[in-house]
């Protein structure tokens, strides 16, 4: 194989082209599944608690997005990016939930919204975790270097139950996101002053430790362990072997941020403080962008807070009296509903929140647009960044007419620049067709996943097989 075909160049903000990873010769051959062309990526950008449905969607008719499409909506921050955006309309979450359509789900709607959005699965068991793998982890197992898991990032408080997690490695196996950008970055970053010899020494030391750990696992496996326990050790080994790959993987020298930014990320003391919500979010997006650009991961999820969670928005000109979940219920508290938010118009507050998330989505798009790849396209062009929400109308706990915004064509697979109605029904608030699992299937094929060499035909346990041809270029 010609090494040059695997070489890809990154052009960061400074415009410096960076070449082949210096330690690539150390990577085991099996890990070097060579990309035939530039990698396709997927990111789930996840908002909770539903949206202001009156002001979320384009104001222009279905068809091509124009410079007027986002005016006055929560998508206004995406102005100028219209040609790279798809707004699909009329999608319903499956299974339905909301006690509608004869599928009364296990768990409450918030649990179903968090557990089902990336899985298209029912919840199960006493703990109400999703009953199957999530789309990000599924993609990662297929296309990430050496099968490395999806990069699961989070902004806000860590949690431990179903409403605090969207990613699943398997049925009943939630993957809690990392809410500390420094810990996320430290795994794969290479700081500027660190030369090859230093990295080589770190690699050699970690390898010597890993070899010992591996030999002990192998010994344990000969001691009458059950199949489940052997699998547990394999899972464990995969979890640490990833480090080895991360240390020496493709694009290693490029996995870095400006020194000043790295210092800022390292310096944050309290990643859960609400006052740091925006700063942490943007740090996570910086880390995410470089991780996608330098080939550390091709799949990621960025989860903003928890289902039925906060924060209370008190920055960027907002001074909200109550936290996001309470406001979504037009209430002052988590348990109330439609009791008012102290005189304010809760829909206006929700619009402000959605718009704020729109700005963050724009921030991520701009970061990804700053990297030009070997094919001349940007990382954004080669990705599908999908802004999605736990619910549609939060007050109703509704799963119909789900808000989705896709940025990037995923290397030309998707037809961007359009506002497209996917349901055949007259109203977009419907329970007949357009299940969200078809969108997941479309995205899976967009990033190039195959099963036995063929396109994937159906993802999840609910909904319909096939892709949305309307979304494809």
């Amino acid at each position: 194989m010609n090494r040059l075909t695997r070489r890809f160049f990154l052009r960061g903000a400074g415009g410096i082209a960076i070449g082949l990873p210096f330690l690539e010769t150390l990577v085991p051959r099996t890990a070097r599944a060579a990309p035939a062309d530039v990698a396709k990526r997927f990111v789930a950008f996840f908002e909770c608690n539903g949206a202001n449905m009156d002001k979320f969607f384009p104001v222009t008719p279905y068809g091509a997005l124009t410079s007027a499409s986002f005016t006055g909506t929560s998508l206004a921050p995406l102005a100028g990016l219209e040609s790279k955006i798809i707004v699909p309309r009329g999608i319903r979450k499956v299974p339905n939930g909301f006690n509608i359509g004869g599928q009364t789900p296990v768990g409450c709607d918030h649990q179903n919204g968090m557990g089902g959005k990336l899985t298209a699965q029912q919840l199960a068991g006493a703990d109400h975790y999703a009953n199957g793998i999530s789309v990000d982890q599924y993609m990662a197992s297929k296309i990430n270097p050496s099968g490395r898991p999806s990069m699961t990032l989070k902004v806000g408080q860590k949690g431990s139950g179903v409403t605090s997690v969207i990613s699943y490695s398997a049925a009943g196996k939630p993957v809690q996101g990392e809410n500390n950008p420094w810990l996320a970055f430290r795994d794969f970053m290479v700081t500027a002053p660190t030369g090859p010899s230093t990295a080589q020494r770190i690699y050699d030391r970690q390898k010597s430790v890993l070899d010992v750990v591996k030999s002990e696992m192998d010994t344990l496996k000969t001691k009458g362990l059950s199949a489940a326990d052997k699998a547990k050790l394999d899972l464990h080994y995969t979890s640490i072997r990833e480090l080895e790959m991360a240390m020496v993987g493709m694009g290693l020298p490029a996995c870095t941020l400006p020194t000043a930014r790295t210092s800022e990320i390292q310096a944050v003391a309290n990643v859960e403080a609400e006052a740091n919500y925006k700063a942490i979010g943007q740090m996570q997006m910086d880390v995410l962008a470089i991780a996608l650009a330098c080939g550390n991961t091709r799949v990621a999820s960025l989860q903003w807070n928890n289902g039925a969670g906060g924060p209370t928005f008190k920055w960027d000109g907002l001074n909200h009296p109550y936290h996001h979940h309470a406001i979504s219920h037009n209430s002052t508290t988590d348990g109330g509903s439609n009791t008012g938010v102290g005189g304010a118009d809760y829909k206006q507050l929700l619009f402000e929140i959605d718009t704020w998330y729109g700005k963050q989505f724009r921030y991520l798009c701009d970061k990804l647009s700053a990297y030009t790849e070997a094919d001349g396209k940007t990382v954004l062009d080669n990705s599908a960044i999908v802004w999605m929400n736990e619910l549609s109308d939060g007050l109703e706990h509704n799963f119909m007419d789900m808000p989705y915004v896709i940025a990037g064509s995923c290397g030309g697979y998707l037809k961007t620049g359009q506002y497209v109605k996917l349901t055949k029904q007259a109203t977009t608030k419907q329970l007949v067709d357009a299940p969200h699992n078809k969108l997941l299937t479309t995205l899976i094929n967009a990033v190039g996943v195959t099963e036995n060499g063929a396109p994937v035909t159906n993802f999840g346990a609910y909904g319909d097989p096939g892709e949305y041809s309307e979304l494809k270029a």
Partner: protein
């Protein structure tokens, strides 16, 4: 095991209601264990031979092993909860980011130790092969909680020597120590409690070996590694002796480390995390602040530790004592006269006409309320599910939770609102029971302050509930608490939850004899709760594992 038995066990209520003909006891409230215990129980496996340390156990273990008290797990990927507890043996794995978290901690901790006084971890200080081997033997045994095999000793000696070139620095001993610790802290033999127990089975049961018993004991009662005494007993095989096991159980329970375990259990059983960040209307409740969460949690934990350790008293006293522990902020809410500080907790007696036991504490009452009003439904469900351990389903999805407003018709109080809202037949199926429990707490507002009137109307706190075989009528939460204090379901719930937490697994029909025995003991006047916790170390399940067929 027969499936029907499992199903019956899922609802402890069935023991008293559905199955009264077969299991009901000779005297009210005490379960007849003669049938349940007639056949010796089979040991129940935690479902794995590799029980990963919980994050709490990791922190405690590196504290006891390395003398480091920085709680490294605060930066670890958070574990998911299963069955209400975060220590499920089969649920705990090293997946996703956690391997990286462990590596980072191992690198940080080992370099920290190597930069400090090596005498804390090494018995010798010479830069010789003999010292290297001595260090590996002694430290390795403590890290792996058993002696190293010859092969392991050789592996680590090789690694120790390699450190001289792999690490920077000038001191070969420090470098060897550092790299050895870095590797051992990532070893499966450290990160898991490994229970291979290779003794020959007797009656399809395999006795755990002495080192495995030492770890089971110390991790159950201390959430940490064995101490020198336990290691000594393990060396001599002493822990396979039942009398010695009991003696050690008593010793461990007397140690401060056991108090932290009791706190960890109660925090999770009672869901004390729910008290964090409570959003209350401060115009209505000027004495409250969301920053009081640690104080509310501290109050409950100290109260329970007092009952278990400091002034040992019966299980019933959890729900009947009329004292508690308050700081300045809590004293204001309880309206207790006296001088208090924010940082100090004092034991105070509460008005017995207003307060009685755990269920009238501020923390529970405030965390099961809304911003302005109390929530009888949340309070009732908590009592049913957590306190009594009875099954209670979730509400159907798509419900409009809006209560009819106060002032419409004859609706004057929160009770009136909830009663009107849940009166349709479809709601009442569950809410007849939920509301009965919840309405009992009408004397406590959204931050747990005592009241007799709400919106200038008298609150009605009367009701009746079916507790086990009897229907109990009560005037208020005090009388309800008294009834709960002697209710078999409350004792069984407490025992089952301790068993789940202590054995890191779900309960099983093979546990019925153990659980009912524990629960019955709790019902005996003068029986110390500490003894019930200790009884967890003498069961068949604790001392043996079943023979398993390895595929």
């Amino acid at each position: 095991m027969p499936l029907t038995f499992r199903i019956a066990w899922l609802s402890s209520a069935l023991i008293f209601v559905g199955c009264t003909g077969t299991i009901s006891g000779p005297s009210p409230g005490v379960v007849d264990t003669s049938a349940l215990c007639a056949v010796p129980a089979k040991p129940v496996s935690p479902g794995t031979k590799l029980v990963r340390l919980t994050h709490t156990q990791y922190d405690n273990t590196v504290r006891d092993l390395l003398g480091v008290t920085t709680a490294p797990s605060s930066a670890f990927q958070k574990d998911s909860t299963f069955q209400g507890f975060n220590n499920s043996a089969v649920g705990l794995a090293v997946a996703d980011r956690l391997g990286r978290d462990y590596r980072r901690a191992a690198e940080d901790l080992s370099s920290q130790v190597a930069a400090g006084a090596l005498s804390k971890v090494s018995p010798c200080s010479a830069a010789t092969d003999a010292c290297a081997k001595q260090f590996i033997d002694t430290f390795g045994k403590r890290a792996f909680r058993r002696p190293l095999t010859d092969a392991e000793k050789a592996t680590y000696f090789t690694l120790f020597k390699a450190a001289n070139t792999l690490l920077d620095g000038t001191d070969p001993l420090a470098k060897g120590v550092q790299l050895t610790i870095e590797a051992m802290l990532q070893s499966p033999n450290f990160l898991y409690r490994v229970e291979l127990a290779e003794q020959l089975p007797v009656n399809d049961m395999v006795a755990l070996n002495s080192y495995e018993m030492a770890s089971r004991l110390s991790y159950l009662l201390w959430n940490s590694m064995p101490d020198d005494t336990l290691f000594g007993l393990a060396d001599s095989g002493g822990l396979t002796d039942v009398a010695e096991l009991k003696a050690q159980t008593t010793r461990l329970l007397a140690d401060p480390r056991a108090r932290a375990v009791v706190d960890d259990f109660h925090s999770q059983w009672l869901d004390l995390d729910r008290e964090n960040n409570l959003n209350r209307d401060l115009a209505l409740f000027p004495n409250f602040s969301s920053s009081m969460a640690p104080a509310m949690q501290q109050e409950t934990l100290r109260y329970l530790k007092n009952i278990i350790f400091d002034e040992p008293s019966s299980f019933a006293s959890i729900y009947t004592s009329n004292y508690t522990f308050v700081n300045k902020e809590l004293a204001a809410l309880y309206q207790v006269a006296g001088t208090f500080s924010s940082s100090q907790f004092s034991k105070v007696t509460l008005d017995p006409a207003q307060r009685q036991g755990l269920l009238t504490q501020i923390g529970f009452l405030a965390s099961h309320s809304y911003a302005r009003t109390d929530s009888p439904i949340h309070r009732g469900v908590f009592v049913i599910r957590r306190v009594l351990g009875l099954p209670q389903g979730d509400p159907p999805a798509g419900i409009d939770f809006t209560l009819p407003p106060v002032g419409s018709g004859a609706i004057h109080t929160t009770r009136d609102q909830v009663a009107a809202k849940t009166s349709p037949a479809g709601c009442a199926t569950c809410h007849a029971r939920i509301n009965s429990y919840g309405f009992a707490f009408g004397n406590y507002d959204a931050v747990g302050q005592y009241r007799t009137k709400e919106n200038n109307f008298d609150v009605d706190t009367t009701g009746s509930v079916a507790l086990g075989e009897t229907t109990v009528a009560f005037k208020n939460a005090l009388e309800l608490s008294t009834a709960i204090s002697t209710a078999p379901d409350a004792r069984i719930s407490y025992a089952v939850n301790w068993l789940r937490y202590g054995y890191q697994r779900a309960d099983n029909s093979e546990d019925l004899c153990d659980i009912t025995t524990m629960a019955n003991n709790l019902g005996t006047e003068g029986y110390a709760i500490k003894d019930m916790i200790g009884a967890l170390t003498s069961t068949t399940s604790f001392r043996f594992r079943p023979v398993e067929i390895t595929p």
